[in-house]
């Protein structure tokens, strides 16, 4: 076996070790990564900036811990921006293991800005069958959610006076890791013409550019890079700060950079080995 054949038949645990070392070394010695803010992320930020104090924004937080790394930073940055600007939030969760993620974000950020449940924000909670729930909310939020997450009847919450369905919220931001995004586009925007922007995982990002181009969504925050871009904008706007350790996506960007370099090198080495082996076989 020649050198390249040996390299190509390497035990995968050596590959894991290289990745592990790169990640740990970068974590110990982080560096600043320049960010280029894409128009699709900026449009979400600018839209939230354009809202007036007292207006209601709906956030559909539809992810579980496995997508937390990419989507939690988006939830935090958007919530902080909204609360600092006194924009009211209406939150819901359509992922069965996600309600705790919303509770984490809203309980922490509401304390930072002294926001009161029922007055400045309402957390509707979870319901099964996302498609049916989204359709039902388009008629009246009280159909799927007669009570909020904490068991309080919606009609007794001051913020919900005058809020019946999507017509009474300025826009919907869906932060999701699964098929819920399709349902929001299909049902909330498709049937009820709700203004919609989405924050999705890296895996899903490329799939939703057609909806951005068609105008069915007005913004797209894609993966951890998108979250880092949003944090960058929010930091410039004074909504989050590095000193308070609020840039959780940006903190992971150095690891993204070095790991991507390594993965590209692996692809290049693998292909060099492949072509050299192919040439050797054709000579024989």
């Amino acid at each position: 076996m020649n050198f390249y054949e040996q390299i190509m038949n390497l035990d995968r645990r050596w590959v894991y070790l290289v990745i592990g070392l790169v990640v740990v070394i970068t974590a110990i010695f982080p560096f600043d990564v320049p960010l280029y803010v894409t128009p699709e992320v900026r449009s979400v930020y600018d839209y939230v900036e354009s809202l007036n104090p007292g207006e209601v924004l709906m956030i559909g937080v539809d992810y579980a811990p496995e997508a937390m790394a990419e989507l939690h930073p988006m939830s935090y940055a958007i919530t902080r921006q909204c609360f600092k600007r006194d924009i009211k939030l209406l939150l819901c969760c359509l992922h069965q293991n996600g309600p705790g993620m919303v509770e984490q974000v809203i309980s922490q950020v509401s304390k930072e800005y002294n926001k009161v449940n029922g007055v400045d924000y309402v957390y509707l909670g979870y319901k099964p069958y996302p498609s049916i729930t989204i359709l039902a909310m388009g008629q009246n939020f009280r159909i799927p959610f007669p009570e909020d997450y904490y068991g309080t009847p919606l009609d007794s919450l001051p913020m919900m006076g005058g809020i019946t369905n999507y017509d009474n919220v300025k826009a919907i931001l869906n932060i999701s890791a699964g098929s819920a995004t399709e349902y929001w586009i299909n049902y909330a925007n498709g049937r009820y013409n709700a203004m919609l922007a989405i924050g999705v995982t890296g895996v899903m990002t490329s799939d939703y550019y057609p909806f951005l181009q068609s105008g069915q969504i007005f913004g797209l925050i894609g993966g951890m890079k998108g979250a880092a871009e949003y944090e960058h904008l929010a930091e410039k706007g004074g909504y989050i700060s590095r000193e308070k350790d609020q840039l959780s996506a940006y903190k992971s960007m150095p690891i993204q950079t070095t790991t991507h370099v390594v993965v590209i090198l692996f692809i290049v080495i693998g292909n060099i080995g492949f072509f050299l082996s192919k040439r050797k076989k054709s000579r024989i």
Binding site: L10, R12, V15, Y16, V18, I19, G20, V33, P34, Y36, T38, A64, P65, E66, A67, M68, A69, Q96, N97, P99, G100, E103, Q104, S107, Q108, K127, P128, Y129, I132, T133, L135, A136, Q139, N140, I143, P144, Y149, Y150, R191, S206, D207, Y208, Y209, P210, Q213, K225, M253, Q256, T257, T259, H260, V261, V263, I264, F266, I267, I269, G270, N271, F274
Partner: protein
């Protein structure tokens, strides 16, 4: 009767939902809202099926002492402990800071997040072992993937060119490809829905 009536119900309910979309009458709206309300209640019961299956599968493993049955005890212990700390204190257990939420934050979140983080190693291993530019098509795929990945790497003066190229790829050829994909999904979903409504597709009902 056991199959005919359900199929008739599918067709009837399906056509009603289809018709009410186009005819904005108050009577239709009322029935539509009732249907949505009831389906959510049915959904709550349906979700319990999976939980019951998991519980019984673990109980059977323990009863029969199949290899690894000790781990099933851990599963059952986790399940019942969460049920206890969640249901006993009442709805206050859903508030951050309760034992229920602490277990969610410090047991469920780290394990679930770490399990999925292993995928990073697997994708690096797959990239090394399997991604070969064997054909023209594979080369196109690899090149576009590498350009997208280079967005995250500071390339000095080349960064601006790469960002522009990546943006172009995402908003033009990628957008076109994914649009064709979504049109296919839409046509396929519509065809499947029609087949189900007309009783041509019946596998979802199971067998007698």
């Amino acid at each position: 009767m056991r199959k005919t009536l359900p199929f008739a119900l599918v067709t009837g309910v399906g056509f009603f939902m289809l018709v009410q979309y186009f005819i904005p009458r108050e009577e239709f709206e009322i029935v539509y809202e009732w249907s949505l309300d009831w389906i959510i209640v049915i959904g709550c019961f349906a979700m319990l099926l999976g939980l019951w299956s998991l519980t019984m599968a673990s109980v059977h493993k323990v009863q029969r002492k199949t290899p690894g049955w000790g781990y099933s005890i851990i599963t059952l212990a986790g399940l019942f402990f969460m049920l206890f700390v969640g249901l006993y204190p009442g709805q206050a257990s859903l508030v951050r800071g309760s034992i229920f939420m602490l277990l969610f934050e410090y047991i469920y979140i780290p394990i679930q997040a770490t399990m999925f983080s292993l995928l990073a190693f697997y994708i690096a291993s797959a990239a090394y072992r399997a991604f070969r530019a064997r054909t023209v098509l594979a080369t196109i795929l690899l090149l576009s993937a590498v350009i997208i990945m280079l967005r995250l790497i500071p390339l000095g003066p080349l960064s601006a060119i790469n960002q522009w190229l990546a943006n172009f790829i995402l908003t033009v050829p990628n957008m076109a490809a994914k649009r064709a994909f979504w049109i296919g999904v839409g046509l396929g979903a519509t065809a499947t829905a029609l087949k189900i409504m007309l009783g041509i597709e019946r596998t979802y009902m199971g067998r007698d």
